[in-house]
Amino acid sequence: MHNSENIFSTILASTVHDMKNSLGMMLEALDSLLDKLEDSKTDPKYGIVQYESMRVNNSLMQLLALYKIENNQLPFNPSYHNVYDFIEEQILIHEPLLKAKGFNYTIDVDEDIEAVFDESLISMVVSNIIGNAIRYAHSEIRVSAEIDERLSIIINDDGPGYPAQMIELVGDYMLGINQSTGSTGLGLFFAQKVAELHSHGEKSGSIELANGGKLGGGAFLINIP
């Protein structure tokens, strides 16, 4: 019943869990410290702490999920969700940072559409991409969704866009790794895997990268059949 993969998975899960708890406690402690200091929470440095700790948190969750996908241990829970509500929440996750950086955002989604997907997996993908967009863009992001045969969620920003080689190499993320820019390849690799998990009948999910779009910067697209 207990093979070594299972044991490793359990240890990985409990370690991730523990690191997340530490992170949470550090943030809590910082918050209560800062409560004693006036205006400290409007200092841009506070935003940095929050943003970076969220990145650490997301990376940990993605690593754990990836490990489970590779070992067929990740359960898949598709269900009906209202797409507008879902996307609004992905933006709200970043609200403190959006406010701190003075970003504008738009959501262009029909309020009545429902689609079937695994909420927590797609949330990890979309909120991670939004987080990156806020990191690289100037002052604006836009999230839209379309549904015909499949659901497509598109995240546009007004930043410099994706490097050309990254766009060409969708599917080969090892080559996208660039430690000087902090691009580990994890986010896109994870997005690709999650999209592939969302298969329905013959159709499988996919991701696309482009530059330009409505805001002139990077455009990320995930298709869910």
Binding site: M1, L27, K68, P75, N77, E89, S120
Partner: protein, 545 residues
């Protein structure tokens, strides 16, 4: 988005969180949203207590609460014991992404999951949505709780029209109503349609459960086999599959399925007990012992713990003792002693359990050839037996009298069987086992007679011939004067006749007298609800004479 403003200042909130720091930060968040009536508790037991004192509008519970009950156990108890309103919003807070979690039972799902860390804006948005949705669905939900299916069906169809956003949730309510009305073909059509579009857990389960209701066992087995492949974290699929295989006599296959389920989630008491029972039939003593061990362990925090798993654990330890080394033997005996200890402490106010425990303890002593233990607990058993006021259940009666027979306590065993025969003559499983235990042929004959008279009386009752029904119930009751079912049937017939007959006063007085003789029925007994309802009706009718 234009969600209607919710007046949070009027909403009562319960926060269940063991980490003081996080509890404080949650409290800060709900204050910012506008909640003023906020109560915080730090463990599951206090949470249940708080909900007994007050029905909350919003409950925010951490899933992981250290050694106490976990969030899912709290939710299940609150729903089971009716401690939350139909529109109470329950949000489960988890450290892990929910995808990695085993889902609790489908009928006990929280309204939403939030993964730590999250900010106040996200919590606010979740609450807005959950409160609006719950309020919209509550009218049908209330009727469903009262099992008023027809009205509930109309109400949820109206909700679906008024709130297209909640279409899926309304379809689920509609399915429940159709099933409640036993309109199985329509219910099946609805669930199948949803599954054909997209397999989602509740609809798939629904299809399977309707197959079961329509006794299409093979189709149900196929469906639940597909379901555990498609949704390996939805454990009810395994439960159903195991039960169906068991019913077909594929006991070993049933055990394999249950083993897969407990591997994913060991924390379910009911499933562990079922696994223990199935393993016993397969003579797999190690699995049996482990299953009951887990059941005792996880029952520790649960309101659903019962003496059964303790007794079964000591029984399986007794079976394990055969053919082990001396060192392991000592360990196992110590374990069994500590299980008896826990059992006696946990149910110290219940003489029935004390009696059962004493008999099982004496049995265990006889396996280890420990004369002193046997003597001590047989003495205890005899002493406690006179203090028992309530009827022993059918299964308990078999268990106890079987053990007593093995211990050579024929007299006590027969007196327990005699009472049980009188009480459970209409239970074929009981009769089959008890007939093999008793040496008193008279008991078997009498129970056959009582059953015949009771059945005859019931057929007259169904034909609205209350005079003949009363006649036969009176005869049955002479043979089995303490039988609860006969007495209650008797009373029901008298109440019926009093409404149409000429001597209402006499009938009602007789009904009252019979009811006053039913003194040994425990409130936990499945027949208690019927007894109280008939009691209430009798009093009501007597007053309006």
């Amino acid at each position: 988005m234009n969600t209607p403003r919710i007046r949070y200042s009027e909403k009562s909130v319960l926060i269940i969180e063991d980490f003081a720091e996080f509890a404080r930060s949650l409290k800060g968040m709900v204050h910012t949203i506008g909640c003023q009536k906020v109560r915080t508790v730090h463990n599951g037991e206090d949470a249940i207590q708080a909900c007994k004192e007050q029905k909350f509008d919003i409950i925010l519970s951490d899933y992981n609460l250290g050694d106490s009950k976990d969030g899912q156990q709290i939710l299940e108890e609150l729903i089971h014991f009716n401690l939350i309103k139909t529109n109470t919003v329950f949000i489960m807070i988890t450290a892990e992404n929910t995808t990695a979690m085993v889902m609790g039972a489908l009928e006990f799902q929280p309204d939403s999951y939030l993964t730590k860390p999250f900010n106040g804006s996200l919590l606010n948005s979740r609450l807005d949505r959950a409160v609006s949705k719950k309020d919209a669905l509550a009218p049908a939900e209330r009727l469903m709780r009262k099992k008023q299916w027809q009205q509930a069906l109309e109400t949820c169809e109206k909700t679906a029209n008024d709130f297209p956003k909640y279409r899926m949730a309304c379809l689920r309510q509609k399915f429940e109503c159709l099933r409640g009305l036993q309109r199985y073909d329509r219910a099946l059509e609805l669930a199948t349609q949803i599954v054909n579009e997209r397999p989602i857990p509740w609809a798939m389960m629904g299809v399977g459960e309707i197959f079961v209701a329509k006794k299409q066992v093979e189709r149900a087995i196929d469906l639940f086999s597909d379901m555990i492949k498609e949704f390996p974290m939805v454990l009810e699929g395994y439960d159903w599959l195991a039960k169906l295989l068991y019913r077909k006599g594929q006991v070993l296959d049933a055990q394999r399925v249950l083993e897969k389920a407990v591997e994913r989630s060991p924390k379910a008491l009911k499933r562990q007990k079922l696994l223990g029972k199935v393993a016993e039939e397969n003579d797999d003593i190690e699995t049996m012992a482990n299953a009951f061990r887990q059941a005792v362990k996880f029952g520790n925090n649960s309101a659903f713990a019962s003496p059964d798993e303790f007794i079964q654990l000591t029984k399986s330890i007794g079976m394990q003792l055969q053919g082990v080394s001396d060192k392991d033997r000592t360990k196992l005996v110590e374990e069994a002693e500590s299980v008896f200890d826990k059992l006696d402490t946990k149910f110290k106010r219940d003489p029935t359990v004390q009696f059962r425990s004493a008999v099982a303890h004496a049995s265990f002593g006889s396996i280890t050839n420990d004369e002193k233990t046997v003597e001590k607990y047989l003495n205890n058993a005899n002493r406690i037996y006179d203090r028992i006021e309530e009827h022993l259940g059918s299964k308990e009666s078999i268990e106890i009298s079987e053990s007593l027979k093995n211990l050579g306590q024929n007299e006590l065993a027969e007196s327990i069987l005699e009472e049980a025969f009188e009480q459970y003559f209409d239970d074929p499983q009981f009769i089959a086992k008890a007939s093999q235990l008793t040496t008193n042929k008279h008991l078997i004959e009498n129970s056959k007679k009582a059953e015949k008279l009771n059945n005859e009386a019931i057929s007259y009752f169904k034909k609205n011939d209350f005079n003949s029904a009363i006649d036969f119930f009176a005869q049955a009751s002479e043979i089995a004067p303490n039988n609860v079912n006969i007495n209650l049937n008797f009373v029901q017939s008298l109440l019926k006749r009093s409404q149409i007959g000429t001597n209402a006063a006499k009938d009602l007085e007789q009904a009252e007298e019979i009811l006053s003789g039913v003194t040994r029925l425990s409130p936990q007994d499945s027949r208690f609800a019927r007894y109280s309802e008939l009691n209430r009706l009798t009093q009501l009718m007597l007053q309006s004479l």
